[in-house]
């Protein structure tokens, strides 16, 4: 079970080089571009929310209308009543520019990832779970292991368990499309051409509120994802996502 023999380029390389990398180059590159883009979206998104930390439902909402809820934080605009007697520095200018530029980067990267993933059967091979695995029992077992912060065994470095597969699928085909849609539904230009994209959500303010909650879910995913990487071995897993090498060669496991 030891992986000490692993020494690329020196010994035992037959099985290593014959094996395809843990992550393909395309997955690795799109992963890190998305990481940077998401970080930019998150920071700029927080700055934008701070200028009006109140949320509404329907078409309209402003300080003269009741809020669905308000974040308990100060605002960067003096006309928003927050209960705090100070105003944060206003950073909306660069934040908005960065937000939309990063959105383009993440959107185009995501499209490349999804199209190539369909072509190379990445999703069906690596992410769609085997039917036998999709049971409450196996999922409950994984969650129990995760909650005990149990380090996964080496075999798991080469594959995803059913809970990981389902989570990735929800993030890739659920949350990212939804956060893009709700973002576009706030754009007055975009919805003039495609009004259904905002009316289907119940209005422009509903779109903003959903956009916020989907972003929160994406942040929760990010936290769980990083936590799992740390538990599994931060250096090794991060190395695998950068170089493609997963560590233990086949003969070893």
């Amino acid at each position: 079970m030891s992986n000490a023999v692993y020494a690329p380029g020196i010994g035992g390389t037959v099985s290593v080089s014959a094996r395809s990398p843990r992550h393909t180059a395309l997955v690795r590159v799109t992963h890190w571009i998305t990481t940077l883009g998401f970080a930019a979206l998150l920071v700029s998104g927080i700055e934008i929310v701070v200028s009006h930390p109140r949320f509404y439902w329907g078409e309209e909402g402003n300080v003269g209308t009741p809020a669905l809820f308000a974040l308990p934080i100060p605002s960067s605009r003096h006309l928003v009543p927050t209960g705090y007697n100070y105003v944060l520095p206003d950073q909306n200018g660069w934040s908005r520019a960065l937000h939309f530029q990063a959105a383009w980067v993440v959107l185009l990267t995501g499209l490349i990832y999804v199209i190539s993933g369909l072509r190379t059967r990445h999703f069906s091979r690596n992410l769609f779970p085997a039917q036998a695995d999709v049971s409450w029992r196996s999922i409950a077992k994984i969650i129990a292991n995760d909650l005990r912060f149990r380090r996964p065994d080496e075999a798991e470095a080469w594959s995803y368990n059913v809970l990981q597969r389902l989570t990735y699928l929800v993030v890739i085909f659920g949350l990212f499309p939804l956060v893009t849609w709700t973002g576009l539904a706030m754009s007055p230009g975009f919805v003039s051409a495609f009004p259904i994209t905002v009316t289907a959500l119940g209005g422009q303010q509903s779109a903003r509120t959903i956009h916020f909650f989907v972003s929160v879910l994406l942040v929760l995913f990010l936290l769980a994802h990083v936590a799992k990487v740390i538990i599994a071995g931060f250096k090794k897993r991060t190395f695998a996502m950068i170089t493609g090498c997963a560590g233990a060669p086949e003969g070893d496991a």
Binding site: S51, N62, N92, S192
Partner: protein
Amino acid sequence: MSRLSRRKLITTGLGAMAGASGLAFAARLAARYGLIPPDHGGLYGPGETLTYAAQRLLTRHSLAREFPRNLISKAPFANGAPPKDDAYQRAKAASFADWRLTVDGLVANPASFSLAELRSLPARSQITHLACEEGWSFIAEWIGVPLSHILQVVGAAPQARYVFYFSIQQYWWDSVDMADALHPQTLVTYGMNDGDLPPGHGGPIRLRVPRQLGYKSVKYLTRLTVADSVKGFGQGLGSSAPEGGYAWYAGI
């Protein structure tokens, strides 16, 4: 190994060259069809350009949503008080009787309209959403003259590419391209919800551009200038917004 990497190198190189020349070609095409915004330079220029180009391809003739009367906001938020300076206060005290909207630049007949003259032109009323870049919004009925009609009256030159507009608040000025200037919903607004346009909302006149965020709807309108270039207006970025870090095109 080396043969493989050489082949890879060549294909990657060819791909990069094709990509670069493709981009250069796309840039020339985009410039020709007016898909490059005045604030296309700088760190965030690529994002601004992509957004503007994509929206101009998709939304050139699309109409902003209009709403039924029962959705008119009971709390239309004015976002700040009207100007406190003398010129505005005196005009307000005189019920804006002397307020004028000057139209100049690349026009056959430069003109200056009083409020009464604007009201005598064909009016349009529409119930649209006003959304601020901060995130809040309201719905109101806006009544005014389509900007396209004013441009027709003064005879805007065919080479016109932008209409600049200025306010009694000198720091707030902007411009729209001809797609928005000639758009039927772009209104020189003097009325709101069946009454005069209140001072808080930009009265006596405000330019409403409902397919863009609220800051493009400049309040206290005093002058329109038709131009074929953004050069010579401020820093040449098309409006005061990019000078403060905001996008010239606010259709997002």
